[in-house]
Symmetry: C2
Subunit: 401 residues, 2 copies
């Protein structure tokens, strides 16, 4: 098998941890696999460098930030290569440039344009473990770029796609994807498999194992992703295409998103163009709108509701107050969003109504509802968040596989 | 003027120091100069990374070491560029690769092959301060290389040469080149000017301001070097070609080299080939021989003396004992070398005899003597080292300019 392994900051957080990673890589290699490893910076390093830069200015030039921040992954990749060498393996560390990761020139948030994987392939053929500095690439002008948050995951997925790797393992300090947050519901169960789409819904809803960009890219490139822990030997969670999942669960997980605030406009004229006007303006001001609910109006007026991240609510208030439409405004930051996710919903009815029933039984009022093919999201009073998660987890028997 | 400034590890040792460096660069820029800055890694960083690597193996692969160690200068160059930007200057940080520093592929001790200075020139023309990561270059294969000890000085000199800069300022934590070590002789005086050749003799004799490689390159490229402190505003010492020094001093400085051990072979047959045999063998074993003294023999036998660095004496003992010639061997580690250096000696006699006189007056026995056009070196008992330096400093009136 050809395996791409990616180790995050805590997994390479100190020199002993890098040694542990080397042992794990050696195991995979000794088992007869070809292995490409992508590493993040040692945890804390990137933040330290950002602090250094902020000493001088709150808005350091992005090109220089990329040069600065890319150094952390160079350190870990060289150190891991040295660690592998010390264990008798042939290995080579490659920078983003040397690994052929070409990006556009949007510094600090570059997108991968293409991967020239010739150098990686050549080194694999020579029997080497290839260790790639994650998070970074090079522009056509030879400038160093970085990929933004979750960039090393993205490097790993893109490389796995380019190499048509059998597996892309993302190592972090958690065991995988759970049916819900185990800190809220101790009966939460680790999932063996989950589809890309379910993962996308769960990630955007608060499961912080993987950034959506990486899952989206894995889906696009058809990369089998596994998230698992580098701190134990537990099997992780396979994120793959729906067809690869034999028994499709009705519901895979319940997610809680606390970072929500609700905006409601009452008495909006029920005529074309109103919604467009509001949401264009919010987009222009870089306010992220999540759920949007509009119902059929009565007597030519309707209510329009939407949610934004809690930390953007002040900005949203300002914008809404500037708009003509902003006559009867209501803002509420004391809300959370609870979501039930599962590919099985597509072919089974009754999933949504069971969710509403469950919350009703607990006397939890549902303020907003939004559904997609594989998801039901509900905005509720924030004090009921944990209760709602536990009740739903029970209602769908998520503690049993 | 076009000035290349190089700041060493202590000069950029923390974020406040980098801020100080930025102020100094701004001053030079505001005075109407074009400025290229070459920086080392923050002091301690390189050693930390070497320690990390040594955790895994005493002999880490050199290619990976270069990738590892080159990260330190990338950090300081980006941070300095950000600091300059925050002070309203236009600036750009360049890696060794981006600065066009091409080297051979001898990792951890690469030699600069050529400098493609187009990118630097282009950015200077755009009014930018160019900040170059020192110590590093790139091979023709796109591998990252480093230049070994004193590598950042070498980067600065090579860039100054390629740009035909008016001045190359090397900033450290000392004020310049002194007539002797001020810790030995408090009356030691900072020199305003010194020739390349004098500096070469002083450096190899223990003045640690500049590595010889950099002075040799400066001489070859005709670069006017200034060593000065980044911790104060004192004028430094200009190292330039002899023609630029109007009043050539008889003696410029007195150096003490404690890292010396003496080897003497008594009763060596006075016939061709003996010396060649011995020194070829020592060279093959990588033992650095410094002074070599052989005198006319009596009755067909002679004595042969030479010095090696003190830490190589055990190795030298082993080699000498293996050689046929090694019958009457004498080893002495309790010796030091005192040298008197000055371009003026070339045209004035009496400099050497004054040195011998001076030591004789102090009852210091001279074990070995070696002279060059601009230097007289004497090996003496190590307990007289400081006394000899002070007496010679006085004898040549080095406290007065």
């Amino acid at each position: 098998m050809l395996i791409v392994q990616k180790y995050g900051g805590t997994s390479v957080g100190n020199i002993e941890r890098i040694d542990e990673v080397a042992k794990r890589v050696k195991k995979a290699k000794d088992a007869g696999n070809d292995v490409v490893v992508v590493v993040s910076a040692m945890s804390g390093e990137t933040n330290k460098l950002i602090e250094f830069a902020k000493y001088f200015t709150e808005n350091p030039p992005k090109r220089e930030m990329d040069l600065l921040l890319s150094s952390g992954e160079r350190v870990t990749s060289s150190l891991l290569s040295i660690a592998l060498y010390s264990k008798g393996l042939k290995s080579i560390a490659l920078t983003g440039r040397q690994a052929g990761i070409y990006t556009d020139d949007i510094h600090t948030g570059a997108r991968i344009d293409k991967i020239d994987s010739n150098k990686i392939k050549k080194n694999i053929k020579e029997g080497k473990v290839v260790v790639v500095a994650g998070f970074q690439g090079i522009t056509n002008n030879g400038e160093v770029s970085t990929l933004g948050r979750g960039g090393s995951d993205l490097s790993a997925v893109a490389i796995a796609g380019a190499l048509k790797a059998d597996l892309c393992e993302i190592y972090t300090d958690v065991d995988g994807v759970y049916t819900t947050d185990p800190r809220i519901e101790p009966k939460a169960r680790k999932l063996d498999k989950i589809s890309y789409d379910e993962m996308l819904e769960l990630a955007s809803l608060g499961a912080k194992v993987l950034q959506n960009r990486s899952v989206e890219l894995a889906k696009k490139l058809n990369v089998n992703l596994v998230t698992r822990s580098s701190f134990n030997e537990n099997e992780g969670t396979l994120i793959t295409k729906e067809e690869n999942i034999m028994e499709k669960p009705l519901v895979s997980g319940v997610a809680l998103d606390r970072n929500q605030a609700r905006v409601t406009l009452r008495g909006v004229k029920d005529e074309p163009g109103i919604a467009a006007k509001i949401f264009n303006r919010l987009a222009k001001e870089n306010i992220n709108v999540d759920m949007i609910i509009q119902n059929i109006g009565l007597d030519g007026v309707t209510n329009l509701g939407f949610t934004v991240p809690e930390n953007e609510i002040e900005e949203a208030k300002r914008v809404m107050n500037e708009l003509d439409a902003s006559k009867q405004l209501e803002f509420d930051t004391k809300v959370v969003k609870v979501s039930v996710v599962g590919v099985g919903m597509q072919s089974h009815s009754g999933v949504a109504s069971k969710a509403f029933d469950t919350l009703a039984k607990e006397n939890i009022n549902i303020q907003m509802i939004s559904t997609s093919e594989i998801k039901v999201s509900m905005v509720i009073d924030d004090k009921y968040g944990e209760l709602a998660v536990r009740s739903l987890h029970d209602a769908y028997h998520l503690d049993r596989s």
